[in-house]
């Protein structure tokens, strides 16, 4: 198998195939960086277009876009607090405070290097370990996947912000939005009021654009007559080779977050946003100075960006070997599977034997895409984009409005989604003003319906017997992990308090 890997290399290095990756990465960064446009939208627009292309050119474009967009999403997350992709939500936590402190340039450099690190690690996992890792995926049936979702939902408690009541309201809202659509088992309508457009559920991109992009646009327009944008001199741009040595101290976070990202990627259904949230939480927990997190800690940006790129290639492991895209909600891998089918590449164990050139070529393209990120992203991000954001505020606001409409409309080609996005925008504006945290909404939407679906599948398999949820080791390990994550910090805090008290007395 590894000889197939090497045999596929010369083809990938051919001019048009390599050019496709470069163009893809640039396009991905641009798409990710535009508030309102997302990787899902870019690839779904691209798929019909790839019918006329050579397989490796088409796949190279997609691999490039996927990698590029995962980093590109960090740019508006840092500069405007608008995550360009769902997976960049965790990047806003520390990226935006850094930009406000005048370290935006450094934040972007940390983001691009971390993205590349995560992407490279993930590409290697895909190239070297795809078949064994796909065996791991098989361990996860509905009851195990249910526990994965619960584990993810439990991490919401770290995202509640200063006011837990408001945080929980956000989470309930997110989970409630996730049940709108057809019932996962019976297919009957839930809260659709007969709208066919709602039957498939509400796309995360629509919610994200509405909640995160509209309020800042209103803010841009609200502040009277201030025409300065984000000043590029304030960005603190230094050449990337000068800042690289300062990033050496992130190596532990890079390692941990890559591992988390790859792991989440191979699990059915979870996806990049959960990977980013989890690795952010874990990195903060491991940090010696957890109190600086959320105030502009570069390591937070590193954790989030490493994990969301480490999820990209590894999400293709179950996609290529089993035909199941890593995530049902943020449908990038699902759309990519479509792109493969277009070229007659049907997922499954035979794929690797029947079309080794294309499959392994595709994997190489992922690796090159991740490496190219540093070269292309490093120069593009800090210079061109920072300057774009220098536009006068009213103009920037009106351009973002147009991008939001394009981005949301193009996913399914319908205006209904645009109106829905505006509705979420109004809700988002109120939430923003009243300081309801937004991340629990995102996580609730991604994991709520997903948890329900798998719980009900598990109960059907157990024919109504709830003990089926605890019937095997994988489930029990996940339950134990969830309990540890939730109870652990409480116990720790209690112990710390007691320590304090004993010292005082």
């Amino acid at each position: 198998m590894y000889s197939d890997l090497l045999n596929a290399l010369p083809e990938v290095l051919g001019l048009s195939n390599f050019l496709a990756v470069i163009i893809g990465v640039i396009a991905g960064i641009v798409v990710g960086a535009m508030p309102g446009l997302s990787a899902t939208m870019a690839i779904s627009v691209l798929v019909p277009f790839t019918f006329g292309l050579e397989p490796l050119v088409a796949l190279g474009l997609m691999a490039g876009i996927y990698n590029g967009a995962m980093y590109g999403g960090a740019i508006p997350a840092v500069l405007l607090r608008i995550p360009g992709t769902p997976a960049a939500v965790a990047t806003t936590f520390d990226g935006y405070p850094m930009a406000q402190k005048g370290e935006g340039g450094y934040a972007l450099q940390v983001a691009v290097v971390s993205s590349a690190v995560g992407g490279i690690a993930s590409a290697f996992a895909l190239m070297l370990l795809a078949p064994p890792l796909s065996k791991v995926t098989l361990l996860f049936g509905p009851s195990e996947v249910f526990w994965v979702a619960v584990f993810g939902l439990a991490s919401i408690i770290f995202l509640l912000g200063g006011n837990p009541i408001k945080g929980l309201i956000s989470a309930c809202f997110g989970v409630f939005v996730s049940v709108i659509g057809s019932d996962p088992i019976f297919g009957t309508d839930r809260y659709t009021s007969g709208q066919l457009e709602l039957l498939d559920g509400i796309s995360i991109v629509i919610l994200l654009v509405g909640l995160y992009a509209l309020p800042p646009v209103i803010d841009l327009l609200e502040t009277p007559l201030k025409t300065d944008g984000v000043n590029s001199s304030k960005l603190g741009t230094e050449p990337i080779w000068k800042t690289l040595p300062r990033m050496g101290r992130f190596w532990k976070t890079w390692l941990r977050s890559s591992f988390i990202g790859i792991w989440i990627g191979i699990l059915p259904g979870a996806g990049g946003s959960m990977a980013a949230f989890m690795s952010y939480n874990e990195a903060r927990r491991a940090s010696r100075t957890p109190e600086t997190w959320g105030e502009g800690e570069p390591e937070g940006v590193a954790a989030s960006e490493t994990a969301n790129n480490a999820d990209t290639a590894s999400a293709l492991i179950p996609a290529l070997t089993l035909g199941i895209p890593g995530t049902a909600v943020a449908a990038v891998a699902a759309v990519m599977l479509g792109g493969l089918l277009v070229h007659g590449l049907q997922p499954g164990p035979m794929l690797f034997r029947e079309n080794p050139d294309v499959v392994f070529g595709f994997m190489w393209q992922f690796l090159f895409g991740a490496i190219l990120l540093i070269l292309l992203g490093g120069s593009l991000a800090t210079n061109s984009f920072a300057r774009l954001l220098n536009l006068p505020r009213p103009l920037l606001g009106s351009v973002i409005i147009v991008l939001m409409l394009i981005g949301v409309y193009s996913i399914h080609g319908r205006m209904f989604d645009v109106y829905l996005m505006l509705g979420f925008g109004a809700i988002g504006w109120v939430m923003d003003k009243l300081k309801f945290p937004l991340p629990p909404v995102v996580l609730g939407l991604i994991l709520g319906g997903f948890a329900e679906e798998n719980l009900r599948l598990a109960l059907r398999i157990g024919r109504g017997d709830w003990t089926v949820l605890f019937a095997n080791t994988t489930s029990l390990v996940l339950v134990a992990l969830t309990v540890a994550v939730v109870v652990g910090p409480m116990v720790k805090r209690r112990l710390a308090k007691r320590d304090l008290r004993t010292k005082e007395t």
């Binding site: 498939d200 277009v342 599948l457 398999i461 024919r463």
Partner: protein, 317 residues
């Protein structure tokens, strides 16, 4: 009088229009509405077929695919049903799904809403079990499900689809009882089966062709063996009269001018004899079986009646 005149003028205009359409059809691009996202099975069928339809329509005809995804294809097919019946808007049509939707939910179309052009793909159902599960023949499976009603869990894609009707047929034929576990799509069902989380699966042959070494294939629900797995016996050969599958084809709105309909049906009819087309379709997991015009309509009606019958005895939602 004026009413009569009005009618006469209208009829005249209609005839002229029809005549004009026939004389020059197709004089502009033909749009095919696909009710699924680009890259899905139905979309790939439409895009693969498009250049061949162009070829057989001749005269520089052009076919453009338009995706209108949502609600398991219902948004797209509703749009196609209500489009102008001039032959410039066609739609892809999935059976039995599109008919089941007229029964299990409100639909703004029925069997009479379409001019039936051609069914192009017939992807037969297969029954699979996990390797090493012991249930390695259809007889053993039926025996187990009869002895322990409900003990056999069946992974399949959603209720009210071809997989589900296949299971209902099996239950009616044998009296065995199964527990349905409806996943969102076939791939998760197949994965759960490979992981041993469900005991058997009902899938389509194109979905297991790549997994023949990982799964026990018990049989295929066709009259004759499928090209996708020539060694796999049919259920009929094994004494169980099961024939069922997922079908994909093309329809136009009802009331298409006859000449236009004839021209389109003729073009579709030539697909089956085109080896290049068959090869392109097989590469994208679409087993070809062309049924045109009146036969296609009868097939649709038959499936509608079957679904209606099932719904009346055991509604699935």
């Amino acid at each position: 009088m004026s009413n009569f005149m009005h009618k006469a003028v209208l009829t005249g205009a209609a005839i002229m229009l029809a005549g004009a359409a026939w004389a020059e059809y197709p004089e502009k691009p033909i749009e095919v509405i696909v009710g699924y996202s680009a890259g899905g099975g139905t979309d790939v069928m439409a895009r693969t077929a498009a250049p061949f339809i162009e070829k057989y329509l001749g005269d520089g005809a052009s076919v453009v695919v338009k995706n209108m995804p949502g609600a398991s294809g219902q948004i797209g097919i509703t749009e196609a049903a209500h489009a102008d019946a001039d032959g410039y808007t066609l739609g892809t049509f999935n059976l039995p799904g599109m008919m089941a939707r007229t029964i299990d939910r409100e639909a703004e179309y029925d069997t009479e809403s379409f001019t039936y052009l051609a069914n192009v793909v017939n992807d037969p159902n297969v029954i699979v079990t996990r390797k090493g599960s012991g249930l390695d023949s259809i007889d053993k499976l039926i025996e187990e499900a009869t002895a322990n009603p409900g003990a056999v869990t069946v992974g399949m894609s959603s209720l009210g689809g071809d997989d589900h009707f296949m299971l209902i047929k099996l239950q009616e034929l044998t009296g065995a009882e199964f527990t349905i576990v409806p996943f969102k799509g076939s791939a998760p069902a197949r994965t759960a089966l490979m992981g041993g989380h469900v005991a058997m699966g009902i899938l389509n042959i194109s979905e297991v062709a790549e997994f023949q070494e990982e799964l026990n294939l018990l049989g295929v629900a066709t009259e004759e063996r499928s090209e996708f797995a020539p060694d796999l016996p049919t259920f009929k050969e094994q004494g169980v009269d099961l024939v069922n599958g997922s079908m994909r084809g093309f329809v136009a709105p009802a009331g298409l001018p006859e000449e236009v309909e004839a021209k389109l049906v003729e073009a579709f009819a030539q697909l089956e004899a085109d080896p290049e087309f068959i090869e392109a379709m097989n590469a994208t997991a679409n087993p070809v079986e062309v049924v045109t015009g009146a036969e296609f309509k009868a097939l649709t009606q038959e499936l509608h009646d079957l679904a209606q019958g099932v719904w009346e005895t055991s509604p699935w939602n």
